[in-house]
């Protein structure tokens, strides 16, 4: 969460390529680990910060997209907490930066929260949604899940569904077959195939593209995707540079 690292990464990319779509996480800072002796006291592993702290780098760096997690759930050994009031505050900072939120949904209840956020104006369409499949304990990475969740999404939504670990490439195919976009990368999985570590994100993207093309789909350019997803034009700058 070192803001200076975010800044360097963003600026180095922007120097080389202004059309590439930058999507920056706001995930860190929602982790709570109940103590064993008294669960209401935060134990080791807790990193639970205020909404404004969790979105500071977005306000400054103004990426094209920033994630907005709607989950409250166990997440491995900890608990991730995103209360509706905190989500609303984070959304406000994201929109104020001219950034589009990528709504991350980890289980079906998150979709209902999304509907409430659409209804009260917190988030505005066209919506960009990721169905996150395979985190313990959220959506199961399976064809049924993709269809069930997709059919509950608000109108005016474009979605992807992606799986963690070994479900990564099956869910690339399933998301495409269900009418969605695809997402893949080292944030979610590290193997290119059984026993073969992916050396780069690019290797995973190549394989995903290959799958989609074999199924009849096509990749978009960054510029095409900007227009398709309703993003700002290329050439955004960080706030302090403005």
């Amino acid at each position: 969460m070192e803001i200076e690292y975010y800044r360097q990464v963003v600026e180095r990319i922007r120097e080389k390529n202004t059309s590439l779509i930058l999507n920056i996480t706001t995930g860190p800072g929602g982790r709570f680990a109940p103590s064993e002796h008294d669960p209401k006291i935060a134990g080791p592993g807790t990193l639970f910060l205020t909404p404004s702290k969790r979105t500071e780098h977005i306000a400054m760096l103004r990426p094209d997209i920033a994630t907005l997690d709607l989950n409250t759930m166990t997440f491995g050994a900890q608990v991730v907490i995103n209360t509706p009031p905190n989500v609303r505050k984070m959304a406000e900072v994201i929109y104020a930066a001219g950034t589009k939120p990528e709504i991350e949904l980890f289980d079906s209840g998150d979709i209902l929260l999304m509907h409430d956020l659409v209804r009260d104006g917190t988030i505005k369409g066209p919506h960009l949604v990721s169905l996150v499949l395979g985190v313990k304990y959220g959506f199961r990475p399976a064809p049924e899940t993709v269809l069930y969740a997709r059919d509950m999404l608000p109108s005016d939504t474009q979605f992807t569904a992606f799986g963690t670990g070994r479900s990564a490439f099956p869910m690339v195919a399933q998301a495409y077959l269900a009418g969605g976009h695809v997402r893949v990368g080292l944030e979610d999985a590290v193997y290119l195939q059984r026993g073969v570590l992916a050396e780069t994100n690019a290797a995973m993207v190549d394989k995903a593209r290959n799958i989609v093309e074999m199924l009849g789909g096509q990749a978009m350019s960054a510029t095409g995707a900007r227009s398709h997803l309703g993003l700002a034009d290329a050439g955004r700058t960080t706030r302090d540079a403005a």
Copy 2:
């Protein structure tokens, strides 16, 4: 959570009717409310206790059934947290009391946790499951949900699905149509029909029974249900009376 009240309720019922199946909640004590200024500090509304404290009354009163909630989620204005380690400890106390857990599932990730608990021996079949539909933000009370969740349940499971508020009676019908048992009562809903408050649990149960019978089903007696669900015979006593 006053243990003396639990005891009085249980004993008064047992005096009059020993075959009635007693199912006692272990829900209270999992609530955490992040403070606004520093979310990792428990704020007002928090009631987050250790697993042994949350199951003390079960160890003493030894009901036929005790609930075991597998959810970690927003729940109205607070967060409910049931970490897997805490769930395991509560299950241990419940089984030690000769009590069967009613596994309460609030969203699809809870089903995956249930599978892990079955796998590691924490819970033993035949399983008794309730799909809780309508808590914000968990399962949506809808036909799709009942089918989707039912198809993910472990084998050797008997389930009901019930809806909160105005979805109570529609979900009675849906649970039955999907092959489940039904549950209804003042814990989950207060209206008998639009604008008519239910005076008693019995009035709600009568209506539910009526619906099920119109659809071709039949009610079981308490004794029949004991055998059907694999519960202990009637006549259990509290520990301190033993």
Copy 3:
């Protein structure tokens, strides 16, 4: 298929009640029974007539609604055949009489034929659809079927799903829960409950209405339904009386 009987029934009803919605079948006349020694020769049980013969009574009596079956399937011991060209011809006669077709769908392929008929202008919205569940061998009367089929229907469609035999009342509930209207009557089932024959259609309708009301729904008057379904106003007359 005696046209004089149709006429008498229609006129006797219209004398007493002009607002009641009349829906007349065009089902008879699509039956083909292959001979055993040479299946391409029509055997006993065959009643397979031209589209114009099958809709003669509609042209004359001009009911509010006439059924339009899209199925080609085994149907008990025979085969029912409704080829797309014949369906188009029957639809033409129905519309020419100022009558709205009730599209009867017996399996999922029929829904795809319906889409083609919408696309080529043969049938015009708002559409009125019945999902027929339980004929051997078509749609299975089950919750899954109602959801699967409903989600494939063309837009601008109002539907019911109804079950034959003992699935009649379960499917009344399921159709309502899935957002549809309900249909019940002696054409599809004869028991009011296990072992109790229905004495009248009215008894079955009463029970269905009761179920729907217990689930939170409401019955419409004939006049309300006319406007809701986009039907002509009450007071239609037979052609020869015009």
Copy 4:
């Protein structure tokens, strides 16, 4: 349907490769085209033969597998009719040849017929099923269909789902993702990708294998498949050569 051609094809293959699994169609001979002036009279395009005629080549050539179509439906411009009595007779010939039927299901009603045939002993497990997606008017080639139909199959069934035309490769992926085997070839589709005709079946199979492997699956050898599917060992001979 020239039996001599079937014989030559089978024997030429068996000369070169005895382990290859031979699956021969029994599809031809179920086509009926109603005449326009009198639909009960067979018109041009009709080829509707007795069950024994339709399975003559199976009795003689004794392939490992023979198709058994359970559909009665429109099929392009004609009607295909497979009445339950005729299906039973064809199954008898197939089993008498020591051949396993591949049950071809074109819509959901066919699955119910299959259940009845399992119940009355006409067909014996382990079952081999193909869900045929994309014939007008039968199953729609879509993820929903594969899941819906798969969940209705009898126990002790191995299935594939395959799509016709441009749905061929998407349904290869979908069948695999839903837990099925895959099928592809020039009987069902002719394009390898948009605008590129497949020169050979082998090219299509290569592509399908490629897709499955990218999703984490593996191809079986013919020998492995024989044992996995419960087929007879390699080395079957035609009856007249026996």
